[in-house]
Amino acid sequence: MKRTPITVLAAISASALVLTACGTNDSSTAESQPSEETAQEDATPSADETVTVQLLTHDSFALSEDVIAEFEDTSGIDIELVSGGDAGSMVAGAILAAGAPTADVMFGVDNTLITRALDEGVFEPYTSPEAESLRPDLADQTFDGLVTPIDFGDVCINIDDTWFEAEGIAPPSTLDDLADPTYSGLLVVQDPGTSSPGLAFLLSTVARYGDEWPDYWQRLKDNDVAVAGSWSDAYYGDFTFGGGGDRPIVVSYATSPPAEIVYAEGEPPETVSTSSMDDGCYRQIEYAGILAGSDDVEAAQRVVDWLLSVPVQEDIPLNMFVFPARADIPLPEVFTEFAGQVEDPEQLPADYVAENVEGLLTEWGSVMGR
């Protein structure tokens, strides 16, 4: 909430830019046009009264522009999206700036990173009234009211069904299958030391096999698993479906199959030839919290309420390809039909992860010879 003349000016010119962009790009959003015009009329006279909340997010954050515009219109709060790089860098930045933050609200810190952020006093406690609508399994995940769960996603094994059909082999259905010689040379994972889904998959094997996890990885290694540096490299480089690769099993997300439908060429196809394996998925929960030291806590609280409100929660699946944290949000059809529906995901306590991640990575490196 920085009410200096420069930021107000910048906010005005930025919102003018957004409006111009909408104006030149209106053919696909014709129905939302009237509300944007009223936004423009309202914004001009009251511009000196609006406050700006800086919302720190990671690279994967996305919402519909009109959902944001509607909130700004009705609340008198302008949202300035601030990029913190990838999720890890964003949290690192927030920890280094603890107490004198670079934004008011942070969205997108997940359960592998959150413990350190909590320990360093990054957040100001707040329990949103909207939290009553959280899914039962997320309701108690607020770390003593310091953060609010906003969405969750599952890192799962994805399978190129067409490939398995053509080869006449039954696709794998459990983590143990992946170490079976039938599937030798077919799996590509990401390096957990450089890739967020790679780390999630490692944690899911730790959750499943406990102290025996290095043996499981030894079996994967004996089964000729490939390790890519990043999700993009694995999915677009090695995976048979995403690009020209030669491995039909990849670590990705439960929502990658619906994304393949939404981001297809032309009309959405009726089906997709990848599927998500329901066993061995690791659940990532993303939280929002008010950064301690924010100078307009009240407005920041309203932004957290808004993130958990029905319009945003309904908007989340098709923008970020994760699941809403509220219990009362109907999922889009591509999600109900094609996303992996994970009943019983693998999870590890956040503080266990924080304490052990370095050791796990070192041991993984020595097992895999990397």
Binding site: A14, I95, G229, D233, E260, A264
Partner: protein, 522 residues
Amino acid sequence: MSHPRWLSWTWAVPALFLVAFLAIPLASLGREIINPGTASYLLDPLPWRVAGLAAGQALVSTALALAIGLPMANVLTRYRFRGRRWALALATVPFVLPTVVVALAFRALLGGSLGSGFAIVVLAHAYLNLAVVVRIVGARWITIDPRMELTARALGAGPWTAFRTVTLSALRPAIASAAAIVFVFSFTSLGVVLLIGDSSTRTLESLVLRQTSILLDFQAAAVSAAIQALVVGSVLVWAARQRALQRGGSARPMRLIRPRGRARWAVGAVAVAAALIVLAPVLALVWASLRSGSGWTLAWWSGLFGSNTIDAGSTRIGSPLSAMARSLTFALATGVVAAVVGGLAAVSVLTGRIGRAFAIATALPLGISAATLGLGTLLAYGRPPLDLRATGLLVPIAHALIAVPLVVAVATPTLRATDPRLVTVAANLGARPTRAWWTGYGPAMRTVMVAAGGLACAVSLGEFGAASFLARADGPTVPLVIARLLGRPGEASFGVAAALAVVLVIMTTTLVAAVDRGGRRT
């Protein structure tokens, strides 16, 4: 020789720039992190082992970049042939291709034969850095009078001896500059290493990223970053020593040579090979931007420009057109800032006694990791009392910081080679000091500043790491949009990313060619 008085103060501008945007951010970061216990991390063998690995990898990458880049520099900057200017601009393309794009293109081209690992990482580094060799060595090579070598031949030297004793020895400082920069870029590489590397190609930069953003172990990260800065600093000191060996010569561009006889074939062969090497990944991108699972398609291009833009109405990607406009604005701002700051730095290196140390200081941003710089800038200028993010200035400033060392590296060898007696002559003929100085150095300054400004624009167009920290989340640059697209599934994501990468190549080539042309005119 009498320099005009203002010349002894030129260092103030680049010095202020470095203090404000390098020293203060690093100090803000250091204050949060470093305490007496940090030193104990120096005993950890891990960062030292990684430094050794990275040094080996960077040496091989540098050797390969020189082996391919030197013949290209020779042909593209000295010989007259049709399409030369475009070929020279194209040679800059590898430098700006987002590393994600190069990595995927190399994998697509070389297939499973290389996979991930040392060989493909070294190839990608050599490819990305071709422009550094061509631009820096070319800027010097064009000023070497070919008659010198002919004279040596006439005096009885064999072709190799003549080349070695005349041309190569004149080029040595420029080659050292270029080699040092390629080494530093390969030593501090991040994107390529993360995408297609394995355990044999780790860099301190990737270690820093892991320590900051996965382990959140800032003290260990500070030590890794310090070791990296130390190695980079030593390499730069070495390069500065080499540059100091510069002998006199002309600083004016020679007339282009019209190749005759066998030389025609040699020039043609190198030009064609250069075009193939540079364009192969680009053609792979063009191909990817026109293909879908069902055959040829224009859908990805209309996803960029058409009525049904990809992700219209979502903040994820933003409008591709506005990202292009934004990147272009940042690039031009970077070009101007870097040319001014870097040019003044090069001039002060030339004159003052503080020269050498100062030259090394201006080159230091090369050794500071993007994550370090991004976090430091954020702490210094991303929160009250001084929040500069909304001004949109932080990205061009960070880009200029990265580009200034390149400007200095391009400018210094040529400026040093300028005959200072020209200034004396002009002064003796009655010119005032400033006028006399400009008579001597003006032509070389103009050529060099324009070349360097073009390179700085290119740096900005392709830069990813610093921009990901400092750009507004809803105001991404083109490389950020490409990375966001490639970070999610879907045929359209990949196709539109490929189309956007082709656009980035076109933007770069056009901008650099235009800048080069402007440089020739003035």
